[in-house]
Assembly symmetry: C4
Homo-oligomer: 231 residues x 4
């Protein structure tokens, strides 16, 4: 079941390690088949180098296991709730990539300082608030999705395919698992560049609005001219 | 003798280089067989790429060599004294990983700023004090263990499986050599993230207490739900 | 057509990834055959690991496609205009290498602080100004070349084979695609060293004029004594 | 002639790239046969990945070529003069490793902040002064050796096997080419750790004198107990 989706999700999970987005087993990718309402997700705690197609876990939009011998990622419910709230998206990535984590821990949004950022994210990367003791006690992973969605009121998840969770780490998404992984690579790179820029100039100005829009539209707007006809 | 322990200790030593936790020969791993009271440890000064099973040195809890043609790591007595004081642990790693060393040299503990840290360490990474000239003259490596144990009065070594030695470097441990190595990877990553966080926000707040506990328990508490049934 | 130039341009594009000058598909290299007035350039959005000779696109100095099934890089017009303005150059590289981008985003030129810089660039790396909203709306990529050329009034493009575009990233060139790629490696390394130098000493003095000239001439002056007779 | 020395020098040159001590062709290693008074050195400008035994150049202590088809490194005279002044040493390395360069460009010595540094270098890494315009005009590479030797008045080159040249980069040496390369790896690592330490604590205290001496003697003193009997 869902063999090609499993292959894509497996490849994106392996890329977490290859792209140095997480150490040990600190990240996971999922992808969704919207027609069937089924999600393929990484099993919990399995090293990327040992992941096999048969290890992939299938869950539904109620976070019930449908297929697979292993437990799904402990973050599965966060993925499920994001898929339910953002019907436009097809893949989700969670990492602990160090520069994005640094902004999460510093409780700072990542300001949009240049074209690399604008190519992927239309504005500053939002920061979701710290969970309350009650929210953590009740349902830590579920309420992680809650504070993300709270922060995304009025934001389009395809214009802004990433969020930082305070004191934690980023969640990133896209129209597919493959695209979500690319956005995760972009996020870490953009965070790295922002760290270095702010070291050189703590008052570095934001990219001008007209340049932000141009760069984003060049890749994502209606008349996008980046890449090939059928990407 | 102790073949499977030797294999585990060898693999963890090789991982020191693979995980970029030390340059040249600046790190070592040991593992203990508690029933026999025997420790397998890296030989001194041998490059990781040349280590073989037969090079592994076996010592006892009096730091006497039991098997092996080579000299054990010069830090063997530090390992021995930690094993004697912490009966819960099964493996010890010593590295000179650069970000953890930076905190050791800055004489600062690593504050717990986020979930990556909380997943592995229940609170700030402690700093053991500088040795006195007498302590160094008498028994440098033995007294390194002494100041670590002094600092760990009242701390549980499984809740806090790492320490920074002032002006020196970290020692890390776990229930096995393999787990100790994972904790060493986590420590360096957490130190890297803390360095970057403090660059972005020198007054970055600590992770709230309830979130620290939740993250730690999710992986290590009685009802841990991370990973698979038999990890 | 232009097979050997295609091979050189392909190899230089692959080196963008190998030398860690760009993530994903964020960079491109071109080379020109001055006799025929034809440029070989990377196709837009194709991953470096999948690039083949047959994917290379040939355009002329009016930015018209002459050969190739794929779309050329979206930055092709910037390359074309630089080739037209700088007849001495034979290759152009565009990257988003993180340290050079940090200076671009901080709106700072890269000061010449040492011999590594002087070996490749005769003075500070210039910064081209931010484009106006009108310039972006009219012709973003063409006007990127315009602000670069504006900044290069009075500069020799072989003495200074690189520029930073404000809020964007560097363009780098050389007498060939291969040399341009080497200059791109040098630029990122020099930017990295400058970042670290300024962290250690925000008032780090510039390299003395006589040392700048000596280092540059040693490699590039009339009696250059670096390298072999026929490099 | 000198086949085994050539092999050692070739291997150490290749390690410059493998250990990330220089980009492109920005570094070189030499070794000396003291009995014959002959030096084997890297040819100028040849990429590390293409170096062959037959490319190695043999020169004498008057900097005259004795064997080899290629030009020796442009820094050959610096090597020669150091070999003449320091009869204890058997190998020399020059790199542009980024953290050591940062201290050279910041015009700061690398303070001895911890045991990693003390294991290899007995005190702060000295900084040789900027050359005057006359010294550069007359004989740049020869006078580079002159300012190094000026700075080393009263220093033992085996206790302190490295120097930073102001606005330039480090030279490192040892009893052999192989040992010099190890010291070059140690220097870059120590510089990296110092940069990070000073970012965390600009007033980080020096390692106490008694700890400096203990760590150095443990590896290099008369009763050294690090490593194996015949290293």
């Amino acid at each position: 079941m869902l063999e090609s989706l499993k292959e894509e999700v497996l490849a994106a999970n392996v890329d977490i390690e290859r792209q140095e987005l997480a150490k040990l087993t600190w990240g996971n990718v999922s992808g969704i088949d919207r027609e069937r309402g089924l999600i393929v997700i990484k099993p919990s705690g399995v090293p990327y180098s040992k992941l096999k197609i048969a290890d992939m876990v299938v869950i539904d939009l109620e976070n019930r296991k449908v297929e697979g011998a292993l437990r799904p990622s402990v973050d599965a419910i966060t993925h499920v709730l994001l898929y339910r709230a953002f019907p436009q998206i097809g893949g989700i990535v969670h990492t602990h990539s160090p520069c994005a984590v640094a902004f999460s821990q510093a409780l700072r949004e990542i300001p949009c300082l240049g074209s690399t950022h604008a190519d992927h994210f239309l504005g500053p990367i939002p920061l979701a608030r710290v969970l309350t003791p009650e929210e953590i006690r009740e349902d830590y992973e579920g309420n992680t999705a809650k504070v993300i969605l709270e922060r995304f009121a009025g934001l389009d998840p395809l214009d802004m395919p990433a969020v930082l969770v305070a004191h934690h780490a980023p969640f990133i998404w896209g129209r597919s698992a493959r695209e979500a992984l690319k956005n995760a690579v972009a996020l870490e790179s953009v965070a790295d560049m922002a760290l270095k820029t702010l070291a050189l100039n703590p008052a570095a100005p934001l990219i001008p609005e007209h340049m932000l829009k141009e760069h984003h539209d060049r890749k994502h707007g209606p008349g996008a001219r980046y890449g090939q006809e059928s990407p």
